[in-house]
């Protein structure tokens, strides 16, 4: 599964995209797996209320299922316009 990071999440983790081997059932399970990896992931995912998530390019919630998902993206609240 491709995992993408944008804005300060990308900066904190230190890369824009990576391929992750995972059996995570939900976004939250994936977050826990990433958090357990290294300090920089723990730092990026410290406050989930400051983060948004998209699965296959649709905005969703952290309890969303990941079955069949190809791409998950984490980013701060958007500031377009």
């Amino acid at each position: 599964m491709d995992v993408l990071y944008f804005a300060w999440v990308r900066e904190r983790i230190g890369l824009p995209k990576e391929t992750v081997e995972t059996n995570a059932a939900t976004v939250m399970d994936l977050v826990e797996e990433l958090r357990a990896r290294e300090e920089r992931y723990e730092a990026a995912f410290a406050d989930l209320s400051a983060l948004r998530v998209a699965v296959d390019q649709d905005l969703t919630e952290f309890d969303a299922p990941l079955e069949g998902a190809r791409e998950v993206a984490f980013f701060p609240p958007m500031t377009g316009g």
Partner: protein, 147 residues
Amino acid sequence: MIVRVQDAAFDLGAEANAFAAGHSDMGALVTFTGIVRDLARGDLDRMVIEHYPGMTERALEKIAREAQERWGLGDVLVIHRYGDMAPGEQIMMVATLAPHRKDAFEAAEFLMDYLKSRAPFWKKEFTADGADWVESKAEDEDALTRW
């Protein structure tokens, strides 16, 4: 519906004229343009806008489609830039065409409210002191509740 996500600057007048051309049944054209605003201290060097290629276009098309479903519009145009911009540069524009002005105005406001917090763009401001990501505002999220 026309949705464009681009690095390059755009010509507001030319875009609005081209968008409205050939719609003689539409009595109202509303445009809104977002501009890189200098900070209160007046020391903004530049702004960089990051986006999520693929999702950005999808999100903008979804918002534009919803506007078309809710109001009687002739057409909708959304142009949003990414990349490096100086204070005073135009970041984005929306335009709506409708038979009457009320629909055109309301749909343009709806597009802007949703685009601010539902399209995957992130702004970073650079000054001599460093760089900061622009934080979203609670009022931007609150603005969605009126639709």
